[in-house]
Structure formats: C-alpha cells, structure tokens
C-alpha cells in the first residue's frame, strides 16, 4: 500500500456513489451500467495517477470521467449508425409505437406515417435556433437546461419555443397540439 493507493481509496470512498448517480442521470441507464462506467473511470484514473503531478486530483478525474462518457456516447452512436434504419416515409416508421392491444390496420398505419412525415418536415423547416430548442424540449429538457446547453438566456429559450410552437401549430393545423402545450 503506497501513498497513491491511499489517495485513490479516499477519493473512491467519497465519490463512487455520486459518480454512479451522475452517470445514471446522464445516460438514463441502469445502476448496473452506471457502476460499470464508474469503475471504468476510476480504473483509468488509477492507472494514470502515477503520471499525474498536481494537486487538483478531482479535476483530473473529471477529465477522465468525461472521456469515459464521451467514448460511451461515441460507441453508442456507432451502434446506432450500424443499426437498421427506417425511412420517414416508410409505414414501418409507426412500428416505434408501444405495442397496442390490437394491430392497427393498414389505413391507420398509413395515416400515422403521413402524420409523422408532416411533423418531421415542419420541425425540419424551423430556423436552426428554434429547431435546436424544440428538439431538446421534446427530449424532456427543461427550459433552464436548454438555456445552459445552448449558452443562451431563459428568455431566449422561451421566445424561440414560443415562435417554434406558433409555426408548428400554423403548419399542422388542428393536429398541431404539442405535448404539454400549456407550458
């Protein structure tokens, strides 16, 4: 047991479970997956510790932990890229729906695919700033989180989303009711 091991163990005891929760929040993954990522980050940190000559160990760990997260995101992207893709015009696009009690008939599936195509085109037509806010909002990010991610003010987020929703309602007509539109 050396000084490095002692320093490492102290950090591990203090931060392990907080890191697990951080990864759960970031990846919306299971605790088991988050523990795997946390252990990976600490393992890399341990291996790099003897090369580190500074007093900001936790900042050094943060760099490693962010790289672990980044590599995971990149590998997830590679898996997604290699996955079978479904065209927006394909009626199978509706296959993303949760399993229904009864199989929708062909006309319903066609109708659903058409609806989604209209929504897709409408969002894609939004100006870049509004489109980015809308995609994050639809992914359940809060206004303050969108503001922080895009480095803009909360007022700017509200204004962009208001304009985007107005455009989408006009474009989609009566169908254009947005989820939790009252917010």
């Amino acid at each position: 047991m050396n000084d490095d091991d002692d320093r490492f163990k102290t950090l591990y005891q203090k931060y392990y479970w907080r890191m697990v929760r951080y990864y759960v929040r970031v990846f919306r993954c299971t605790q088991e997956d988050a523990e795997e990522l946390t252990q990976e980050a600490f393992l890399r940190f341990y291996e790099a510790m003897d090369e580190y000559r500074g007093d900001a160990e936790w900042a050094f760990f943060e760099t490693i932990a962010r790289n672990v997260a980044y590599n995971r995101i990149r590998s997830m992207n590679t898996q997604k890229r290699n996955a079978k893709t479904i065209g927006i015009d394909d009626p199978d696009f509706t296959g993303r729906e949760p399993a229904a009690a009864e199989e929708p008939d062909y006309a319903e599936r066609e109708q659903s695919a058409l609806r989604r195509k209209q929504v897709y085109d409408a969002i894609d037509e939004l100006p870049r700033g509004q489109r980015e806010c809308m995609l994050l909002w639809l992914d359940d990010f809060r206004y303050d989180e969108i503001a922080s991610a895009l480095r803009i003010s909360m007022d700017a987020v509200k204004s962009r989303l208001r304009d985007a929703k107005k455009f989408l309602r006009a474009r989609l007509g009566d169908d254009g009711t947005l989820p939790e539109d009252e917010t």
Binding site: K9, Y12, Q13, K14, Y15, Y16, W17, R18, M19, R21, Y22, R25, V26, R28, Q39, L43, R44, Y46, E47, E51, W58, T63, I64, R66, N67, A69, Y70, R72, I73, R74, N77, K80, F93, R96, E97, R115, R116, V119, Y120, I123, D124, R128, E132, M134, L135, L136, L138, D139, F141, E145, S148, A149, L150, R151, L172, D175, G176, T177, L178, P179
Partner: protein
C-alpha cells in the same frame, strides 16, 4: 391527432438523421472550449448543431458533475468493507492486463518523446533542405493538418493518410493571434493522456506552420489531438487543435 409518441418518435428520428449527417459528437476538449466560451460564433454554432443530436452529451453539461465528496456518516460514503471488495475486484481487473503493461507504456512514452524531439529538429532541417532542393524524397511524407472547425461541414477527425517510416505533420496557424512563443501537445483521446509535448517553440516563418516529424510507430491506431497553446508572459491560451485519426491499417 398528433400524439405525444408521434412528437417523440419524430424528434428522435431527426436527431438520428442529424447524427448520421454530422458524424461523431464533439470531443470533451471541444465541449470544454464551448462551455468556457472560447469558440468563435461560427464554431459555436457548428458545435451546437452536433451537440443537440446527442442528448446524453447535452446532459453532461446540464447535469452537475459531483464536486463535493461524501463524508463518513453520509449514505453516499462507501464503508471500508465495501471498499475492500471493490479494491480487490479492481486489482484483479488490473492483473488481467499484461503484467509489464505499465512499464512498457512508460518505456515507449519516453522513447517516443525522445524520438519526437529529435524528429522536430530533423523536421526543421528537412524543411530547409527540401525548400532549397526540391527533388523527390521517398523517406518522408508530409500531411497538412487542417485546424478543427475549419474542415467545413465534415467534423470528424482528419485521417492520417501519409505513409512511410516517419511522417511530417504540418500544422498551420490560420488567422491566429500572435504570441511570444507556443507550446504543443499531442493527446491520445482514448485515454485523455498527453503523450508528447514541447514548449518555447515558434512556427516556421515562411508558412506560419509547425512541422512535427513523427515516427510512424509513435501513433497507435486511435484518435489524437494536437493542441497548440500560445504563451505571452504569464498568459497561456489554447490557440487551435487538430484532430487526427490513425486508422488501424495505416501503420
């Protein structure tokens, strides 16, 4: 009637389509520069476009990174007994790696640093020689690196294509502010480790570029980042980066 699942499915489809179009997510270094406000307006806009299609990456910004550790008595504090089990498991994972791994890596790192230092000197000499007598040479091959953010819509790292035992990497400083001198680093992105660095250097006067000769075996397959820092007095600024992908077959 458009349902909530329609909206979600469409937004996920748009993000997936953006990911295919825009490529890999921003690197941790790019994100750091972004969150510190160090990017130009154009670079920031391009980064945001790539960022938004990776919600997990967005959450690394919006979710606070734990900065306060748990103290004894806190439910988050890992008891000694549990730590002992984790420690044993970690040691066994470390043992599964090659026994001499760390020392081998150290040896190669120091060899590579020495080789690269010699290579920089040789590179400068080579530049002088080739500029005076531009006859064909087969031993060295050059590759001009484009700074990150200046490769158009293609945001993926530049692939190392130069062949040969050693290569000359030409890293131009495009439109960068002048500094008293510069510091260069090469980082392995997979491990976030700086594998080579040098200080107190100046770009070549004629083309405002750094020339780095690197023995081929210095680069294992993977992604690397060459970072140029400008230094004036006590002030040091990250000036530019060049991401470089070394493919498996290109050795």
């Amino acid at each position: 009637m458009i349902t909530k699942s329609d909206w979600r499915a469409v937004s996920q489809h748009l993000m997936a389509s953006d990911r295919r179009r825009l490529g890999d997510p921003p690197t941790p270094e790019e994100l750091l520069a972004y969150t510190r406000g160090e990017l130009s307006a154009d670079e920031e806009a391009r980064l945001q476009e790539r960022l938004v299609c990776y919600p997990e990456l967005v959450r690394t910004i919006t979710e606070p990174f734990p900065t306060e550790g748990a103290e004894p008595g806190d439910p988050d504090f890992m008891p000694d007994e549990e730590l002992g089990k984790h420690w044993a498991s970690m040691q066994s994972r470390l043992r599964r790696k090659p026994a001499e791994g760390a020392r081998v890596v150290q040896f190669w790192r120091y060899s590579a640093v020495a080789a690269a230092l010699i290579a920089v000197v040789l590179g400068a000499m080579l530049w002088v020689v080739t500029s005076r007598a531009p006859e064909p040479r087969l031993v060295w091959e050059e590759q001009v690196l484009m700074p990150d953010g200046r490769r158009g819509p293609e945001s993926q790292p530049q692939t190392l294509t130069a062949q040969g035992e050693s290569i000359v990497l030409i890293a131009p400083l495009i439109g960068a502010q002048k500094f008293d001198h510069y510091r260069l680093e090469i980082t392995n992105q997979a491990t976030a480790r700086v594998i080579w660095s040098t200080t107190g250097v100046q770009p070549h006067e004629e083309n405002n570029s750094f020339l780095i000769i690197v023995p081929r075996r210095f680069f294992r397959p993977g992604t690397y980042e060459i970072v140029v820092y400008g230094v004036s007095g006590d002030r040091e600024e990250r000036v530019t980066t060049y991401s470089l992908l070394v493919p498996r077959s290109n050795r």
